[in-house]
Structures are given as C-alpha cells and as structure tokens.
C-alpha cells in the first residue's frame, strides 16, 4: 500500500523532472506524454483508494517516510496521512490536474515554452499532493510554500509581459504575508503541544476542555488556541485569497488559462480550506477563531461577488467568482461545517475548472481576446463550449439538482443553524451573495454566448469550436459538475465518511442539526426550489436577462444613476490602490530612508568616516606644532619648564 501512495505522489514529480530537465530531448509530444501518463496513473490509483475507503475496507494510513531531522528528543519527519479527507483531496487534485494536462495540449499548442509548462503543472500536482497527504505541520508548510512557488512560476509563465511578472511577484508576496502568520501558528503549535505531528497534536487537543493555556502577547492574555488558530488561518487567508489578502488572485489571471483552472480555482486556492478542515480538532477549541473565520468568509463571499458584476475580462469574472465561492467554503468552516466546506471545495473544483477551461476555449477561439464586450453569440460557433459552460454556470449559481446547489445550500443552511458570534451577519451575506452570483454568472454567460456579435470581422471569420483535446476535458468536467452531488452529499455531510478526519464538538455541530431536517437527496432537491436562495438566484437570472439581453438600455440608465458605487467597484474597493500606494510605498520609502539616513549618513557618514575625519582633523591640527623651527621648539620647552616649576611650586606650598 505504501508503494501505491508513493507512486501517487512521485509519478507527477518524475514527469516534471523529465519534461523539465530533458524537455529538449524528448520533444513536445514526449513532454506531454510523460507528464500525462504520470498524472493519469496517479489519478487512477487515487480513485482506487477512494473507492476502497468508500466501501469501508481501508484503514487510515499514517506512516513516516523518512526522518527529516532530529533535534534533541524532537523528531521531524516527512510522512503520509491517508484518510477519507486526504483521499477526497488527492482524487480531486489528480482528476482536475489530468483534465488540465490534456487541455494544455490544445491550449499551449503554439507556445515555445511547452515543455516548461508541462513541467510546472506536474510539479504543481506533486506539491499539492505532498500538501494534502502530509501528516505533520512541517511537511504541510513544505507543500504550502511549494504550491506557492509553482503558482508564482506559472503566473509569470509569460515572463516577458510586465503585467505577468508584476502579478506573480504580488501573488508571492501577499501569500508570504499569509505564511508569516502561518509560520507563527506552527511555532505556537510546537510551543503548546511540543510536537508538529498531527496525531500527537490532535490527541492532546481532544483533552483540552477549559479553553486551554493562555499566552500573553502585548496587551493582556489570549487563549493560546485562539492565537494559534488565527495565525494558522492568516495563512489560509493568503492561500485561499480571503479579504483582505485576496488581492493577488484576480491579478493571477495573467497566467495561462489552464493554470487558472487548476491552481487558482480548483486546487491550490482551496488549500486553506483543506488546512482548516484538517485542523478541525484545534479550531473547534476556539469559538473566537471560528467567529473570525465565519465573518471573513462571509465578507469575501459577498463583497467579492459584487466585484464580479463590473469586470469586463472573462477570466476576471470567473476569478472574482472563485473568490466569492472560496468565501462560502471558509464561512462553512467558521460554522464548524467542515464537511460542507470540503464538499463545496469538491463540487467547486469541478464546475470552476470547467468554467475556466471553457473561458479558455473561448479565448482560444477569439485569438486571445478576453474582453466580453467584444464577444457575443458564440453559442452559434462553439456548441460544446456553450453547453458545458451552461452546465458550469448552473452549478455555480446553485440550480437545484446541479452539484453546486447541494454544497452551497448546505453551507447556507449550516450557517443558519450555527449560533456563534457573527452568524446572522454571515447568513445575510451568504444569502445575498446568491443573488449576485446569479447576476454576474448570467451576465457573462449572456454577453459571451448570446446577444449580438460584437467581435471584428477578422476574429469572426476564424471562430470555430475548439479541438477535441480541449472539448474532451470540458465534457469530462461537466459530468461531475452536474451529477457529483447526488450520491455524495449524504455520506459526506451527514454520514460518517469524514468521522476519522474531522472533529466537531457537539455544541458546534451545525451539520448534525441539519441532518435532523434532511430526508434524502430527492426531498432536499425539491425543497431547494422553495427557499429564499432559490428565489434570489432566479431574481439574479432575471436581472441579468433584463439588463444584458432584453433591455440593455436599462443598464445605461442604471449605471448613470449608480456612478459612485460603480466607481468603487471598478476600483475593487481600493484595496489594490491602498496596498500599492500606502504599504508598498511605505516599505520602499522606509528602505530608502534607512539606507540614505541610517546607513549612509549616520553609520557611515558620522560614525565610520566621521571618526576617520576626526583623526584626520586632529592630526592636521597637531601637525602645525611640528614646524621644524628650532626657536619654536625652544620656546615650547621654556613654556613647559615654566609650567612644571609653577606646578611644583604650588604643590610644595
């Protein structure tokens, strides 16, 4: 069994190494074959494990692969924890990765960096697998940073583009701000639990009943667990792009579309959600941290959804939609409905990857035009892309029977049932978010696939459906986007599928409360058509239909009335401007100031060269005494003698 797990992890790495180092020898086709075979094998093996786990004949595996280092009595290792949670994650990761690998053959067909791209996405898959399969905090941090680097490399894949290398540096640094908190959280874990091993930490955590130890940082004392959980969550805020560390994700769209689908929608950005779910035994112990998470998630879900409405770039709409959906997942975690968060993570991975890849298909057809104002009526030219996009959109807006419906409704219900501070605010945000989700989703859907053709003639003449390597992944992703919810919802949310992985205190267990009202998937689906979110979704659909298809002139009138909100939205609530001008500006200014004033003027100018100058000046003055004239020396001698005599005279007297 250990060999199977090793194969799952290492095959993508092998593919990456071969296509990265020997890309020139194996050629373009060689690079895609070797990486695809690697990832496909990983994917099949993951499915096999997931299947065994679902059937219940698979024990949790927790092994150490090698000892990374030993410090006194503390051993740090690299290992594997394979339980239902990580099994779901590896299946989702390898499946979406496989789809993206295949899709890349078509999308990157003419790119000179073809082999490099395959190397990076395989390397990413490997990093993500080490992250989700980790059994300790050290390795978690390894994977955590490794996916960050690959994301950095991929956003800047077209490194000649200034916007791309701006975006990748921004993404890396914002993530590093999150990692700053994450690392302090890990340090806190080691401090309070004396171990970095999940099992040991979680076992100890189960015995904490009275809020645990306290820590005094600055003013007053904190619960150490609140401190640890919030620090860890700051890491998640970076990686999963939660407000206010969300600013890097829209810019990351500068990277090629396949990686937007894989990294910036389906897998890496959900690492934060996975991490919190993995740490549920810790987070459960701090209601303060849960409230914090809930509010952050709800804010992200709502406000980032609003931004989706004003975007003109097809990828950026999907990016803001990703932000908003990540907000839903995080809100689920805050409501202690970790399973619902993971469930939404899974469905979202399929339909969001689908939407991104469909957007990519459109972009290829449009010769890399991404502005939705220059599209329209593409359904005529691209039927497969059109239908798969429709399925993705319906899943995203939460149309009953589609996968996204089950997971999103579960989150909203879970938040309704929870009673921690901030839950009513969060509930309002999440429900209102449904309207805006429908609005921006159908807006982009209509503007791209319906309405009149706005592209230039040259582009129009070249419009055609994408080749099979592109449409096949779309179709394969459309299937789970539609159907994955039916059979998985009950065991994942209300059954004991995650029993071994996720720990929820009885008083927080919002899913258990929901379970009482749950009477089978069919009833849940039907009931879904009679709830507030459903009506809001329909309202969003109708609004989009009216404003963008039937009565476009209403939109002009509306926009002229809403100039100020429109301005705020198109400036993304001024987060970017604030960071760029104030924080980055201040940092650089401090650096320059310290260099010019501290280094050059004070330390070097006054202290170092100053003392050298002092010696020089002193020497220059002293030098004048040595004139070389005998009578000067004779005179000085006399003065000296006189002084000695006077001194002796007064001494004696």
């Amino acid at each position: 069994m250990q060999n199977t797990i090793l194969a799952i992890i290492l095959l993508p790495l092998l593919g990456a190494i071969i296509s990265g180092l020997f890309g020139r020898w194996i050629g373009r086709a060689g690079a895609h074959y070797v990486t695809i075979i690697g990832v496909a094998t990983s994917c099949l093996l993951s499915f096999q494990i997931l299947w065994q786990i679902t059937n219940g004949d698979f024990p949790v595996i927790n092994i150490q692969l090698y000892e990374w280092g030993r410090l006194g009595n503390l051993s740090l290792g690299i290992g594997v924890l394979l339980d239902p949670l990580s099994a779901v994650m590896i299946s989702v990761v390898t499946f979406v990765s496989l789809m993206v690998h295949i899709y890349t053959i078509g999308y990157m067909k003419d790119d000179p960096g073809y082999q490099r791209f395959f190397c990076y996405i395989s390397l990413f898959t490997f990093s993500m697998l080490t992250l989700v399969l980790s059994n300790n905090f050290l390795q978690l941090f390894f994977g955590w940073e490794a996916v960050g680097v690959v994301s950095y490399l991929l956003i800047g894949f077209w490194f000649k583009k200034d916007s791309a290398v701006f975006a990748n540096l921004k993404a890396f640094l914002v993530n590093r701000v999150g990692d700053f908190g994450f690392l302090l959280g890990i340090a806190g874990v080691l401090y309070y639990f004396g171990s970095l091993d999940y099992q040991s930490v979680f076992t100890q955590a189960k015995f904490i009943t009275d809020g645990g130890p306290v820590i005094s940082v600055g003013m007053g004392e904190w619960s150490a667990l609140t401190f640890i959980c919030i620090c860890l969550f700051i890491g998640a805020m970076g990686k999963s792009a939660q407000v206010p560390l969300h600013v890097w994700l829209p810019d990351s769209m500068e990277g090629p579309t396949p990686i937007s689908a894989l990294i910036h929608a389906a897998t890496m950005v959900t690492a934060g959600v996975f991490m919190v779910a993995r740490m549920s035994p810790l987070f459960e112990l701090s209601t303060t941290a849960l409230s914090f998470i809930l509010v952050i998630g709800a804010c992200t879900a709502f406000f980032m959804g609003l931004l989706g409405i004003v975007q003109q770039d097809i990828k950026r709409v999907v990016a803001y939609s990703t932000l908003s959906q990540l907000g839903y997942m995080v809100a689920a975690l805050g409501a202690s409905a970790y399973a619902a968060g993971i469930f939404h993570l899974m469905t979202h991975a399929f339909f969001k990857a689908l939407l991104f890849l469909a957007a990519g298909s459109v972009i290829v057809a449009m010769h890399h035009v991404q502005d939705i104002r220059k599209m329209g009526n593409l359904r005529k030219y691209m039927p497969v892309t059109y239908f798969t996009s429709l399925i993705g959109t319906l899943a995203l807006v939460g149309m009953p029977a589609f996968a996204g419906f089950y997971s999103k409704d579960a989150i909203i219900e879970a938040v309704r049932h929870t009673e921690i501070a901030g839950s009513s605010f969060a509930y309002v945000c999440l429900v209102a978010g449904v309207f805006f989700t429908a609005l921006y989703s159908f807006r982009v859907f209509f503007l791209v696939f319906h309405t009149k053709e706005r592209m230039d003639d040259h582009t129009r003449s070249g419009l055609k459906e994408s080749p099979l390597v592109i449409t096949l992944p779309l179709i394969l992703l459309a299937v789970p986007s539609f159907a994955i919810g039916w059979n998985t919802m009950e065991p994942m949310l209300f059954g004991d599928f995650f029993k071994q992985s996720i720990h929820v205190l009885p008083e927080h267990d919002s899913l258990a409360m929901m379970a009482r009202e749950f009477h089978g998937i069919r009833a849940f689906t039907l009931h879904g058509m009679a709830t507030l979110p459903f009506y809001l979704m329909v309202a969003g659909f109708i609004t989009a239909l009216m404003l963008f298809v039937i009565k476009p002139e209403w939109r002009t009138r509306l926009v002229s009335k809403l100039a100020l909100p429109e301005k705020i939205l198109s400036n993304h609530f001024y987060f970017d401007a604030f960071y760029q001008k104030v924080l980055v500006g201040l940092g650089l200014l401090t650096g320059k100031g310290l260099w010019k004033a501290g280094e050059q003027r004070i330390i070097d100018g006054m202290m170092v060269n100053g003392s050298a100058k002092l010696v020089n000046t002193f020497a220059a003055v002293i030098r004048h005494i040595q004139t070389g004239y005998l009578y000067h020396y004779a005179l000085l001698m006399l003065v000296g003698l006189l002084a000695v005599f006077l001194w002796l005279y007064f001494q004696v007297k």
């Binding site: 090698y66 000892e67 990374w68 280092g69 030993r70 410090l71 006194g72 009595n73 503390l74 050290l138 941090f141 390894f142 955590w144 940073e145 490794a146 680097v149 950095y152 490399l153 800047g156 490194f159 000649k160 200034d162 290398v165 540096l169 890396f172 640094l173 590093r176 701000v177 990692d179 700053f180 690392l183 302090l184 890990i186 340090a187 806190g188 080691l190 401090y191 820590i215 940082v217 940092g587 650089l588 401090t590 650096g591 320059k592 310290l594 260099w595 010019k596 501290g598 280094e599 330390i603 070097d604 202290m607 170092v608």
Partner: protein
C-alpha cells in the same frame, strides 16, 4: 599507537604550501598549468576532508583527529588542532567553496592569475586553520593571517573604490581582533594555558566575564557582521572580485558566528546570558532593518551583501535565545535554536556563494552590477535563469531548499523565548522574498532590455557545473538536513548541557 595520518595538518597546510609554491616561477605563459595545479590542490584538500568525515564519531562531542605539538613551551602555547561537530562541516564547506572559487576564476580572472589562485588556496588553508585550532594563540594567528590574502584579493582585483573598501575592511576587523587578543591573553595568564578547552573550565565573576564578553563580542560582531558594525561588508563585497565575495560571504562571515559558540557562550556564559537581550535585539534589527535597506539597493552585489547580514542575524538570534530557553526549561528547543543557527551558517555558505557567483556570471559578460542595466536576461539565458531562480528562492527561505531549514528552526525556537522574537524574525518571510524576487524580476524578467542583453551567451559547461552542484547541495540539505544535524548534534548538546552553565563558581560545572 599506530602511526596517525595528520589529516588536519594536511587539510591546513596542503593548500597553504601549495598556494605558496604557485608563486614561484610565476610565468604568464604557464597560467594554464597553474590553473590546473590550483584546481588539483583544492580538490586534494577537499578530498582530505572526506576520510575525516567518514571516521568522525558523531556521537562524541570531544575534539577528534587531535594533533598536539609544542610550539612555545615557556608560554604554554601549542600547535593544537582538532575537529568537533561544529567545525567539521565548516572545514568541509571551506574546502568545497575553494574548488568553486578556483573554477569560477577560470576565465574571468585574466591578470596575475597565479597570484590570485595562490591567495585563495592560502586563504583556504588559513580558514581551515581557524576552524581546526584548539589553541587560542594558534587560532588568533590563523584568524589574523587569513585577512591578508583577502585584503590583497580586494586590493588587487577590486573595483574602482577598492582602496576605501580594503582599508575599511581591515580597520574594522583588526580593531575587533585586537580586543579579542587582549581577552585571549588575559585568559591565558589566568588559566596558565592557551587551550581553548581550558578557558571553558575557568570560573570567573560576572564582571570579569562581562569585560571578556564584550571584547569577544566586538571582534565577532564585526565579522558576522552585526548591526551597526556591518557597513564594511557591502563596501567590501561591491569592490571584491567574484571569488573574494564568495569566500567573504560563504566562509569569513561564519568565523564571527563560530567565535560566538566557541568562545562567547562557553567561556562567558553568565555574561552572555546577562547581555543576551542586547544581542537578540541587534539580531532582530539585522533581520528587519537590514531587510528594508536591502529593498532599496540598486546594486546587485550590495543587495546580496545586505541580505547576507539579514541572514546572519538568524545565526546570532539562534545562538543567543539559548539562555531564555534554558531558563524556561526548553532544552530541546535550545538545541533547535543553536542547530538552526549552525545550519543557517552552512546553508548561507552555499546560497550566498551561489548568489555572488550568479552575479559574477552577469558581471563577466556585461561588466555591470547595477540592476537598472539589466532586464529580460531570462530570454537570452534560460539555463542561467533556472539556476538563478533556485538560488533566489533559497535566499528567500523556500522550504525544500537549505535556506529554509535554519530560518525555520530559529523562528520556531525564538517563539519559545518570546512570540515577539518570532514575530520580528518571521518578517524575513516577506522582506527576504521581496528584495530577492524583486531584484530577480527586474534583472531577469520582462522584454529584453537592450542589444547587449540579447547577445548574452548562456552558461557554459564550467559555469553549469559550478552552479548546478551548488543547487544540488541546496536541495539535498533542504530536503534532508538530518545527516548534517546528526553530525552536529553531539557538540550542540554538549554546548547546551555544559557550555552554558553558570561559571561564577566551580560548582555544577561540567568536567570534560
């Protein structure tokens, strides 16, 4: 007893004498031969460290491969060398980096090649001597002698402002070492021996310890260098030839840090504990303040020089939090802090060396170190771009590279001393990434900036060999630092057990 091969003496004297012999018969037509000879000598020196490594007993904290001969009997001065877990890795690092430097100079040094090679060989032997010396006077002699070749290397092959830089470098380090000499002589008179181990066993009042502590501190702080006595380093780096920068960053800075664990902590533990807060403060200033200053640099070498200072801040931080940790009963964590500092020393040797080599690669081609003169280099030099990226990421402390190991361990340990220490130390996650990757972006990414860059040739075989072997080391120690940790652990545990115990009275002191 069977005849013992004097391994350490060979490691010290083969490069010194070999280097000297290169100076004879200096004949510009034989430069080629001298290059090969120097390379052979460097490789032999490194090869000599391998049997030491293989036969080293990592379970023991005692000095091993000891050689002791009378030098000045009346003064109790001995030629006394040996290695322990602290010094063996440093000696191996020194010998390895000398090979690298000699290979790096293959084409780029064109004038007085024999002298250049001989100076770096001698430096190698002298630095090995510093690490191997177990007698304080022997240590001091190597310590000062080592400055001379470096002084010459910067003075002869340096940039336009080299006179200022060399004088600054020399005055700084010399003033520091004079104080150290006074401290050593005092201890020698008190203990009637110049054995460093004897100093460790000598009880002293806090007041005496404080004087000694500060005398040592100034010598070592200048070398590390710590804020605010660091400004000689950027100047020296900027003016130094590539090889000089590599040795300076990779090895010489480590001497100061080595001094702390060999002298300051075990000889004056009470004073070190008493003043630890100040050293910690200076270390954190190095991380935060220097990190910010690095952000403002326009010269690549200066930037890396400042980044070196910031990284060395982790070394001193890791060493000096020990006392806070021991008083809080965190022995394992104290070990972690010191191990972290030591790992950071070794890793910084590879990474900073590699960074300076990378800059050297560009400097050889375009004769500029200014960031603004570059842009889009990745277009013309893809192999170089890949390797430079590896080192840039390592410099930013990426997990999986050796740059992460030390910083991670020190931050984790610092948290136990005070969360605030960890907080300030962890800013390197953002600052280190910002200055390194921002430089990388401006130099490597973007459209090709001008025709000169378009015409750049990618790495040749020799450069590939040097940089990729360093890259492999960076990955190996990042992914599997266990062997290195194990090599050091007995010595570190001994230091934490015995070296840091109070010395005011003889009670409770460890016997050797």
């Amino acid at each position: 007893m069977a005849y013992q091969v004097p391994w350490l003496s060979l490691i010290i004297w083969v490069p010194i004498l070999g280097g000297l012999s290169l100076l004879f018969g200096v004949d510009e037509t034989r430069v080629r031969l001298h290059r090969w000879l120097a390379l052979a000598l460097a490789i032999v020196t490194f090869a000599l460290t391998i049997p030491v490594f293989l036969n080293f007993d990592s379970q023991s904290a005692a000095l091993q491969f000891v050689e002791k001969d009378v030098w000045f009997e009346s003064l109790n001065i001995y030629y006394y060398v040996g290695v322990d877990g602290f010094t063996l890795p440093l000696i191996m690092l020194t010998s390895f980096m000398t090979i690298v430097v000699i290979l790096a100079a293959w084409r780029s040094v064109k004038e007085r090649v024999s002298l250049y090679l001989s100076l770096f060989l001698m430096m190698c032997g002298l630095m090995n001597g510093v690490f191997a010396a177990a007698d304080a006077i022997l240590f001091y002699v190597f310590w000062e002698a080592m400055l001379v070749p470096m002084f010459m290397a910067i003075g002869i092959w340096g940039g336009p402002n080299r006179v200022y830089a060399t004088i600054k470098f020399f005055l700084y380090t010399f003033i520091g070492s004079v104080l150290m000499l006074i401290a050593l002589i005092y201890l020698g008179i008190e203990t009637k021996s110049f054995e460093i181990a004897a100093f460790h066993q000598h009880p002293m009042t806090l007041e005496v310890q404080s004087y000694l502590f500060w005398a040592f501190f100034i010598a070592f702080a200048v070398k590390v260098p710590m804020w605010p006595v660091h400004t000689w380093l950027p100047d020296a780096h900027v003016e130094a030839p590539t090889g000089g920068s590599v040795i300076l960053a990779a090895i010489m800075l480590k001497m100061g840090a080595y001094g702390f664990i060999r002298f300051s902590l075990p000889i004056t533990p009470d004073a070190a504990a008493h003043w630890a807060d100040i050293v910690i403060l200076l270390s954190l200033i190095a991380v935060v303040y220097i990190g910010l200053v690095a952000l403002a640099q326009e010269d690549m070498k200066k930037l890396i020089a400042y980044s070196s200072i910031a990284h060395m801040g982790f070394v001193t931080l890791g060493f000096f939090i020990t006392f806070a940790l021991l008083s809080g009963e965190h022995k394992d964590i104290a070990i972690m802090g010191i191990q972290g500092g030591l790992i950071q020393m070794i890793s910084h040797g590879f990474i900073s060396g590699a960074m300076f080599l990378c800059i050297g690669v560009l400097y050889d081609r375009l004769h500029s170190r200014m960031i603004a003169d570059y842009g889009g280099v990745a277009n013309a030099m893809p192999k170089y771009a890949a390797l430079f990226m590896v080192f840039a990421m390592a410099n930013a402390g990426l997990p999986g590279t050796s740059g992460f190991v030390g910083e991670f361990m020190v931050i984790l340990a610092a948290f136990h001393a005070s969360p605030w220490y960890a907080f300030f130390a962890a800013t390197t996650l953002v600052l280190g990434a910002a200055y390194t990757l921002w430089m990388y972006r401006r130099v490597m990414f973007g459209e090709t900036a001008n025709n000169k860059i378009a015409a750049l040739k990618d790495l040749d075989m020799r450069e590939m060999l040097i940089l990729s072997s360093l890259a492999i080391l960076v990955f190996v120690f990042g992914l599997w630092p266990a062997p290195l940790l194990d090599l050091m652990s007995a010595s570190v545990e001994h230091l934490v057990e015995c070296g840091t115990r109070s010395k005011i009275s003889l009670e409770g002191m460890c016997k050797p």
